[in-house]
Point group: C2
Chain length 324, copies 2
C-alpha cells in the first residue's frame, strides 16, 4: 500500500464512528443508512488557495474551514449533519501539511459527530471540496423563500471580524495584539451554527448563512422570498475590536455589511415567534440580534444616522464579478 | 441576479427532474427523499486540468467525464444513481466553455435519470469535483473485500483504449483515422457501467471500477479480500485498434494491464454464478470476459506466452508516486 491509499489510510480513516455507516472510506463508495423519517440534506463547497483562503493559511485552518462552510449550509437548513466526503487536491504529498489538514477537519467533525466516509486525494493546485450530508424533519427545513412582510430580520453572533482579519492579512488594515488574533481567528476557524439552526427549524420563516456579506446574502433571501428589507445599521452586531477599528475609518461602517466569511445565520421570524423566542435568542450563545424588518416592496434599505437610503447592489463577494 | 447565481441558473438548473427532490439548486443545500428501504451510496471524485484530463479537452468531455467517473463508482457498488452535486472551479466565466461543460454533464445525467441538485461555481485553476448519491439494496452491495479463492475474475468491455488515446494526445503514440478517434473518444467519454453493476448486485463476490489500470485496481481488490490472483494475458479483452497498435510495439502488451481511465468493471464470480450467468455476460452489452482466477496465496501473477510470472508492483497510475 503506497501513494494515495497509504496517505488516506494514515490521515483520514480516523474521526467519529457512526452506527449508520455501513461502509466507510476504502471502497468505491460509502454505504450509509439514512434515518427512516426525515429528508436528506446535501451540500458541497470548494475552497481554493488564493481565492477562498490566503496562501500561508495554516493547514488545520484549511481543513477546519472546508468542513465548517458546509456544516454552516446544513445549519442554515435547520438540519443535523451526519456524514462528510472530502476531495483534496494538493501539489505534493507533504506529510506535515496533510496531517494538519486532516487534524483540522477531523477535530471539527468530532465536535459535531460527523463521520468522514469518503474522499479523494490527488495532485494539482491546492483546493478542497467537501460534501456534507445530513438530515432534517420534512416540514421543519429552513429555506430561503419563506420570509413574509412584517417578519423580523435576525442575525447570530457578530459580523465583519473575518473580513477585517482578511484585510489585516492582506495589509489593507492595521491591527495588533488580541484584536488582530481574534479577527484572524474568525477568518480561519468559522464556527458553524448547527445548534442554533436546529432550534430555528420549523420556527424561522427563512434562513441563509452569511458567506458573502450581509447585504448580498440578505438580497438572495429577499429575492427568493419576493420581499424587501430595511436594515438598521446601528443594530448590526459588531465586536469591540471591529467597533474600535471602524471609529477611525471613514468608510469602515460598510465592513459589517459587505465583508464575507462570517458564517453566521441570517433568519426571519414572524412576530409570534419573536414574542416566544426573542428574549431567549438574545441571551443565547451565540447571542442573536434583531437588525431589521421584512417589507412588502422589493429592494434593500439601510437606516443609518437617522437617514434611510436604498442599498446599491454590488457590496459583498461574488466570484465572477470583478470589483464586486 | 448576476455573477455566480446567474451562471448557475442559466446552465445548471436543467436536466432531469425527480419526484424525490424536495428542493434542488438555489438554496443553502438540497433536500432529498431517500428510498424507504436500501442503503445510500455516496462517492466524490475530482478531475483537475493537466492531471486528469489534458488541456484542450472539449468542455463537454470534462462535464461528461466528471459525472461518469462517479457514476462508475456507483456502478462498482451495484447501485442505482439518483442525485449529483457539481463543484466547478474555472479561471473565468467563459460562456462557451461553461455551456459545453453543463451540456456534457447534463446529457449524461439525463441518460441515467440523475438529477443535478446542488453545486458551487467559483474562480481558480480549472477543476471539478462531482459527488453522486445513489441507492443499493442492503445485502446486494458489491464491495471490494468479498473475493474468494476459486472465484473467476471478469472484466467488462475492452481495456487500454483510453490509455492509448492519452498517449496519442500526448504525442507518445502515433495513430490516425477511426482508430485514433475511437481511442480519444474512450478517453474523453467513458461509459459508466451502471446497468451491468445492477445485474451483478447480490451475485458478484467483489467488484471495483478500473480507473487506475487493471493490475493496480486488481491489487486493491485482492488486498481488500486478502487473496491473490492469476491473470491470463491472452484473455484480456482489447479492441482491434489496440491490438493493431500492440503488434508493432515491443512493450505495447503492458498497456491494457496498466493504462488508466477505462472505467470498466472488474468483478469476481463464484463458480455457481459463473455457470448461471457466464454465457449471458459474455454475450451482453458490454460483453464481459473471464480473464483469470482468484487464488488463496496473495500476490498477482500473470500468464503470458505459456509462462507464469509474478507481477511487479508499480504499474498503473498513482497521483502521488512519481513515475508510477
Amino acid at each position: 500500500v503506497s501513494g494515495e491509499e497509504g496517505l488516506i489510510e494514515r490521515w483520514f480513516q480516523r474521526g467519529p464512528r457512526r452506527p449508520d455507516v455501513a461502509l466507510g472510506i476504502g471502497d468505491d463508495a460509502a454505504l450509509l443508512q439514512p434515518a427512516a423519517s426525515g429528508l436528506l440534506v446535501a451540500c458541497t463547497d470548494t475552497l481554493t488557495e488564493g481565492v477562498h483562503f490566503p496562501e500561508q493559511t495554516p493547514p488545520d485552518a484549511v481543513g477546519h474551514k472546508a468542513l465548517a462552510v458546509n456544516l454552516s449550509d446544513v445549519a442554515a437548513m435547520g438540519g443535523t449533519a451526519c456524514w462528510a466526503l472530502s476531495a483534496l487536491t494538493a501539489p505534493r504529498a507533504d506529510p506535515a501539511w496533510l496531517g494538519g489538514f486532516a487534524d483540522g477537519l477531523l477535530t471539527l467533525a468530532s465536535r459535531f459527530g460527523v463521520a468522514l466516509v469518503g474522499g479523494d486525494l490527488c495532485r494539482g493546485p491546492t483546493s478542497v471540496t467537501v460534501t456534507v450530508l445530513g438530515t432534517v424533519a420534512p416540514r421543519a427545513a429552513l429555506r430561503r423563500d419563506g420570509a413574509r412582510p412584517g417578519d423580523g430580520i435576525w442575525v447570530s453572533g457578530t459580523l465583519g471580524d473575518a473580513g477585517l482579519g482578511l484585510a489585516v492579512l492582506q495589509g489593507r488594515a492595521a491591527l495588533s495584539g488580541p484584536a488582530r488574533r481574534q479577527c484572524v481567528r474568525r477568518l480561519h476557524y468559522p464556527e458553524p451554527r448547527l445548534t442554533l439552526g436546529g432550534r430555528l427549524a420549523g420556527r424561522a420563516t427563512a434562513a441563509i448563512d452569511l458567506s458573502d456579506g450581509l447585504m448580498r446574502d440578505l438580497g438572495r433571501l429577499c429575492r427568493a422570498s419576493r420581499v424587501g428589507a430595511v436594515i438598521e445599521w446601528e443594530r448590526v452586531p459588531c465586536s469591540e475590536a471591529l467597533a474600535a477599528w471602524m471609529a477611525h475609518e471613514p468608510e469602515g461602517w460598510r465592513l459589517p455589511l459587505t465583508a464575507g466569511d462570517d458564517y453566521e445565520l441570517l433568519f426571519t421570524l414572524p412576530p409570534g415567534e419573536e414574542a416566544r423566542l426573542g428574549a431567549e435568542l438574545e441571551a443565547g450563545e451565540p447571542p442573536c440580534t434583531r437588525i431589521g424588518t421584512v417589507t412588502e416592496p422589493p429592494g434593500l434599505w439601510l437606516e443609518r444616522g437617522g437617514y434611510r437610503e436604498i442599498w446599491e447592489a454590488g457590496g459583498g463577494f461574488d466570484h465572477f464579478v470583478e470589483g464586486a
